[in-house]
């Protein structure tokens, strides 16, 4: 005996395939059936990805952290039969998407009443239709080549620094007061022009 509680009245376009949901509950002895549907919007599928997104056959639906696991039918439906009354957790493991875990309350008092809510953002679901929160991009996107990336690289910076020294320093010298330059040059002369010879071992004797 199945009592369908929610009846799907919403029709989606072709792009987003339609949904039905549900919560029916057959009530033999102590178990109820949780029925639901995973919907991966087809607009997202294959837009960009690694060829694994949108493969509905790889999606696994997990009840209570691994107590039971099931797979999706071609139309995206799944069901967990014989679930005792209580509050349960459903997770969807789909490579390429992040799904929020879903809190599902199966009520013992009025059989068939199933309430569901996303645990991540506490949004209540009227019907058990699970959609991904977002797509997951597992790889960094390589920045396209730009001259800036060369300039920012260590070698680029070294070059840049050298160029500044070579071309900008003389300019700075030019702008200096000629008097000051003369004084500086004199100072240098009095100290002796530093040359490579000074650093050689033999040079000290001269």
């Amino acid at each position: 005996m199945e009592a369908r509680i929610f009846i799907n009245a919403i029709l989606y376009g072709l792009m987003c395939s339609s949904i039905l949901s549900s919560a029916h509950a057959a009530a033999p002895a102590d178990g109820f059936t949780i029925n639901g549907r995973v919907k991966i919007p087809s607009a997202v599928v294959g837009a960009k990805g690694f060829g694994l997104q949108g493969k509905i056959s790889d999606v696994k639906v997990i009840l209570n952290g691994g107590q039971r696991a099931t797979f999706l039918r071609p139309d995206g439906y799944f069901s967990f039969p014989d679930v005792p009354a209580g509050t349960h957790l459903i997770e969807v493991a789909a490579l390429g998407y992040l799904f929020s875990p879903i809190r599902v309350d199966v009520s013992a008092r009025n059989p068939g009443k199933v309430q569901a809510a996303l645990t991540e953002n506490r949004r209540a679901l009227n019907e058990l239709v699970l959609e991904p929160l977002r797509e997951e991009q597992y790889y960094e996107i390589r920045e396209p080549f730009s001259i800036m990336s060369i300039v920012k690289s260590p070698m680029g910076l070294m070059m840049g620094f050298m160029l500044i020294v070579v071309f900008l320093m003389p300019k700075l010298m030019e702008n200096m007061d000629p008097e000051e330059i003369k004084r500086a040059q004199e100072e240098m002369r009095s100290q002796g022009v530093p040359s490579l010879a000074n650093f050689l071992p033999g040079a000290a004797r001269n």
Partner: protein, 1020 residues
């Protein structure tokens, strides 16, 4: 771009770390190759760019396979169904003991598709249906699923809610149709159910449990719609039901009695004869039910097979008019004649394996028998109707390390000369899968690796003459050419062909798969123990198997009925100067699964893969404690604790005994009795006093015990720090130059208990009746340092202990979300060591040894965060010197491994961190932990059936090696703070060279300029 805000502080803190690091490295700088020197010089420059570092690890798509490898397995095959139609791909559908249903390519053994069912969803049978579906029955007859043959898409799923546990059968009749709809029959939970093959809808159901019938067999009468259901009521009554397959109505029911009583071991022979054993197991009963009439005969087994001893077993095989009886050391193949007489056709050694009968042309059956001769395997295919005819007789040479043949499945094909050929799928003792055709092994799958029990690592040999295995040493020209190619790649000048060449070059780099030790410590051997009691050595570079060993001392013997492997430990780790000695590992096993079964120890050379020595069966082994001492041959001392808590010292040498007795006053251990909720601490009392003891046995002394109240707390999880973890600094600098001392002790134990209702899975407890209590206990004194209660929280708890903190994952029922909490503990007694003077001469100065008995003042800080996923395993990164910041590695329910920076789990996170805190890297508080897709270590892969993740430090401080195992294996290396101490893989040497050339040219040019200018100045 995740969290760019905190990027700058990260680079600051890293800079200080690197200074410390390079200082410690400088000492051994003389040995470093030039590459590392260059790396050190350049690290300064790299530091400038660390400011763009993120908290996660991330990978570009073209880097896949550079440092990671992934291997896909299915596990030990238990059913196989061939699908070899004329056209299209030839495949074989298998189900395994790891609950995998897979479709394999019959030509190469590759996986077309596979589905890993839930952990409690073991497969009872698979069948092909109507050429387009694979039907599987699982969960002891509870779930029936149909899978699309080409792609493995689940088509329908039906739950058979039986009323009581029973045997499970799957029957796909070929000609049973209702309105053009084929039926699938399944028996499970005491009910026989017929299901439509189109949508899985239940057509009829017949409950036999209500009639207290224990159903033994379900068979279809050949060529008709009648289904026979055979079973016992009580131990002496035999019942047979004839059921109309179309509607489930009982056509006929007959009972019969046998005074001797039936055992539950039965077998169907040739559609109308049931063979059973009597209660004593010494008499063979044949029940002929042809046409619904029951006739029972019996015959003592000894009349048939002569003298035998021990248990008799009917092998679950379908052999046409024959059956196989396993008695003593032999398998007797017994045929049933048309008159119902039993005749022994052949007796073979019990090490043989026999396949089911395969109908291959009109009315003919083929049966394969595989048995061992020396180190060869004899495959014989016989005609089922006439056992003396051999259809095929081949000898195949199979690697001795694969052990005995366990199972064989055959399939026939038409040869070009229109004769019948046979191929055999063979399951070996090490769980590997082989396809044998025309006397040769076509392909092999190492599916033993799907059931890894434990892992350890050893170093590879040091490179020296005669040791190097690498054949492709690149010359300078090739090297340069490679780098020019790479440069072209970076400058976007490469043609598509070049790109392919670059990628191939990167993946094939001979550097990573060499058989010698490398400077960075990336190349190691992973020594893996599997459920099949086989040891494998895998190379970390590319995951290939270096050697494998079916451990001889862990094989089935008279002394040891069902040996199991337990753990593997590094036994002897020679110092890196001792080049002639090979490292070895210790494998600990048991004779049976039960804890008090005798233990078996095996010592295996880690380079050659040969067993050096073994002992056993010895005393039982409850736990193994590797001690921090080694003897003069660098064998590590191990203390093996038995169920009476006596310690047994290994190695068994005088020298080891001497070392042990010196230190024995400082050896403590504890035992956790999960059932009773007691943790007890022990120390060494003295030598054993019981009769058959030796010098290496030690009596325990009870020190302390912690008893948890049984009615409100049940132990559900524990965690200890890793013994090989290195902690770099004891102090933690807080805001405003404040100093906190981490309380670091290897003798800490984290225990989580839950109220009895909350210790089961989610969905069984309400928030009011659930509570979770966590404890930090010192295992030397038994002192409880810290206790915290989480109201409304429940199991499962996964915890990891590192340095001075514990992180644990549990379920919060009130929020109905998972949470992760962190506890950090600090030593308050040393908090006044604020300046150098106090540090040197103060009360708690550096020279005061820390002792568990000194009653430290502990301060604990704690914080909880929400976490999205269920967790299968948690571990933490380990690095060589413990300087690099830590990341948590979380194995999620989706079988991925997520890296999460420890700083997200910092108890000091607050809503508005002060400026100083921000500088230090404290992240503003959020209620939940971020799941950054780029920080999945497994990127776009899944480690199906993930069970555990282990980390091993590399020699390079920044890097950890990560190995995740389940049904699949995955290995990668990870740099939690990026590789600050070496150049990355894609560092462009060519660009560096180009820059240097450009700089030299610039120098020359400017020099000439200046000379010329000077000359002009002088002429003026």
């Amino acid at each position: 771009m995740p969290t760019p805000i905190i990027s700058l502080p990260l680079s600051l803190s890293l800079r200080t770390q690197i200074r410390q690091f390079s200082a410690s490295q400088e000492i051994e700088g003389a040995r470093s190759p030039p590459q590392a020197m260059a790396a050190r010089v350049l690290s300064f420059y790299l530091l400038l760019f660390l400011s763009i570092a993120q908290l996660g690890v991330s990978l570009y798509e073209d880097q896949v396979g550079l440092m990671d490898w992934h291997q896909r397995y299915i596990g030990k095959v238990k059913h196989a169904v061939f699908h070899t139609q004329r056209s299209g791909r030839k495949r074989v559908m298998v189900s395994t003991e790891q609950n995998v249903i897979a479709s394999l390519d019959l030509r190469h053994g590759d996986i077309f598709w596979r589905r890993v069912l839930g952990a409690n969803d073991s497969v009872d049978g698979i069948e092909l249906a109507f050429g387009k579906y694979v039907i599987s029955l699982s969960s002891a007859g509870g779930t029936l699923r149909a899978w699309n043959l080409p792609d493995g898409q689940m088509v329908w799923e039906t739950s058979l809610q039986g009323s009581k546990p029973s045997k499970a059968f799957l029957l796909v009749p070929t000609n049973l149709k209702v309105d053009k709809d084929n039926l699938v029959l399944a028996f499970g939970g005491g009910c026989l159910v017929a299901v439509s093959s189109i949508d899985g809808e239940m057509l009829w159901k017949k409950d036999f449990a209500a009639e207290s019938l224990e159903v033994q067999q379900v068979v279809q009468s050949p060529g008709s719609d009648v289904i026979y259901v055979l079973g016992f009521v009580g131990s002496t009554q035999f019942d047979i039901y004839q059921i109309n397959g179309k509607n489930g109505e009982v056509i006929h029911h007959e009972t019969s009695n046998y005074a001797g009583g039936f055992s539950r071991n039965t077998l169907i022979v040739s559609d109308d004869v049931l063979v059973a054993l009597d209660v004593t197991g010494s008499i063979l009963i044949t029940v002929n039910f042809q046409g619904g009439k029951v006739r029972i005969d019996d015959k003592p087994i000894s009349d048939l097979v002569g003298y035998y001893s021990g248990q008799v077993e009917l092998l679950a095989l379908r052999l046409g008019r024959m059956f196989a009886l396993k008695a003593h050391q032999h398998i007797a193949l017994i045929s049933v004649t048309n008159e119902g007489k039993l005749e022994v056709a052949e007796k073979v050694n019990s090490a043989a394996a026999i396949s089911d009968a395969l109908p291959f042309s009109e009315g003919q059956l083929a049966v394969a028998r595989v048995h061992h001769e020396d180190n060869k395997v004899q495959l014989t295919v016989k005609l089922g109707n006439d056992w003396s005819t051999n259809l095929l007789d081949e000898t195949v040479k199979i690697d001795g390390q694969r052990g005995l043949v366990q199972k064989v499945f055959i399939n026939n094909y038409i040869r070009t000369d229109r004769s019948h050929g046979f191929r055999a799928l063979v399951v070996m003792e090490d769980h590997s899968l082989l396809l044998v055709q025309q006397g040769e092994i076509v392909w092999t799958r190492e599916d033993g690796l799907a059931s890894v029990l434990d892992v350890t690592t050893t170093e590879l040999p040091v490179e020296k003459d005669g040791v190097s295995v690498s054949k492709v040493e690149q010359n300078l020209f090739d090297w340069l050419k490679g780098h020019v190619l790479k440069l072209k790649g970076t400058l976007m000048l490469a043609t598509p062909d070049d790109m392919v060449a670059i990628q191939a070059m990167r993946l094939k780099s001979s550097e990573k798969s060499k058989m010698t030790r490398d400077h960075n410590g990336f190349r190691k051997l992973l020594i893996v123990l599997t459920q099949a009691r086989k040891l494998y050595a895998l190379h970390t570079g590319d995951g290939r198997i270096i050697w494998s060993l079916l451990i001889g001392s862990l094989r089935k013997s008279d002394a040891c009925g069902h040996p199991v492997g337990l753990r593997v430990y590094p036994w002897q780790v020679p110092h890196h100067h001792a080049m002639d000695e090979n490292p070895s590992v210790l494998v600990v096993g048991r004779c049976q699964l039960s804890q008090d079964a005798p233990g078996i120890l095996s010592f295996v050379d880690a380079y050659t893969g040969s067993e050096i020595e073994s002992s056993g069966p010895v005393h039982d082994v409850l736990q193994v404690i590797p001690l921090p001492f080694t003897d003069s041959t660098e064998q590590r001392l191990h203390l093996l604790i038995d169920t009476k808590q006596r310690g047994h010292l290994y190695p068994r040498s005088r020298e080891a005994l001497g070392i042990f007795q010196q230190k024995s006053s400082n050896i403590y251990w504890y035992s956790i009795e999960t059932g009773n909720g007691i943790i007890r601490g022990y120390a060494i009392k003295g030598s054993c006093i019981h009769e058959d003891s030796d010098d290496f046995c030690f009596e325990p002394r009870d020190l302390w015990s912690v008893v948890f109240p049984g009615e409100s707390e049940k132990i559900i999880s524990m965690a200890t720090p890793k013994l090989n973890e290195v902690v770099h600094t004891q102090a933690k600098v807080m805001v405003e130059q404040d100093l906190m001392y981490k309380y670091i002790s290897k003798n800490l134990l984290f225990v989580a208990t839950a109220s009895p209702k909350a210790s089961h899975g989610i969905g069984s407890a309400t928030p009011e009746e659930a509570s979770l209590v966590v404890y930090l206990i010192d295992t030397v004194t038994g002192r409880v340092f810290y206790r915290m209660t989480h109201q409304g929280c429940q199991a499962p708890v996964h915890a990891v202990f590192s340095e001075n903190w514990v992180i644990y994952h549990y379920f919060n029922l009130r929020a109905h979300r998972y949470e992760m909490s962190v506890i950090e503990i600090y030593d308050q007694s040393r908090a006044d060591n604020k300046d150098v003077l106090k540090l040197v001469v103060g009360k708690h100065n550096l020279t005061v040894p820390t002792s568990s008995y000194s009653r430290p003042e502990i301060v604990a800080k704690s914080q909880s965060y929400f976490f999205t996923h269920s967790v299968k395993a948690i571990t933490v990164t380990l690095t060589a010197k413990g300087i690099t910041s830590k990341q948590m590695l979380i194995g999620t329910i989706g079988d991925q491994v997520l890296a999460l920076d420890k700083r997200y789990l910092d108890p000091r996170r607050s809503l508005n961190p002060s400026q100083a805190e921000k500088e230090e890297g404290v992240i503003p508080l959020t209620d939940s932990l971020p799941v950054i897709p780029q920080s999945y270590l497994t990127h776009a892969l899944k480690v199906e059936g993930l069970r555990d993740v282990i980390t091993v430090p590399a020699k390079l401080e920044s890097t950890t090696l990560v190995f995740a195992y389940g049904v699949d294996l995955f290995f990668t290396r990870l740099a939690p703070s990026r590789t600050y101490d070496s150049l990355t893989e894609d560092f462009s040497y060519a660009l560096l060279l180009l820059t240097i050339v450009a700089l030299v040219a610039a120098i020359v040019v400017t020099w000439i300029w200046s000379e010329r200018k000077e000359l002009q100045e002088k002429w003026r």
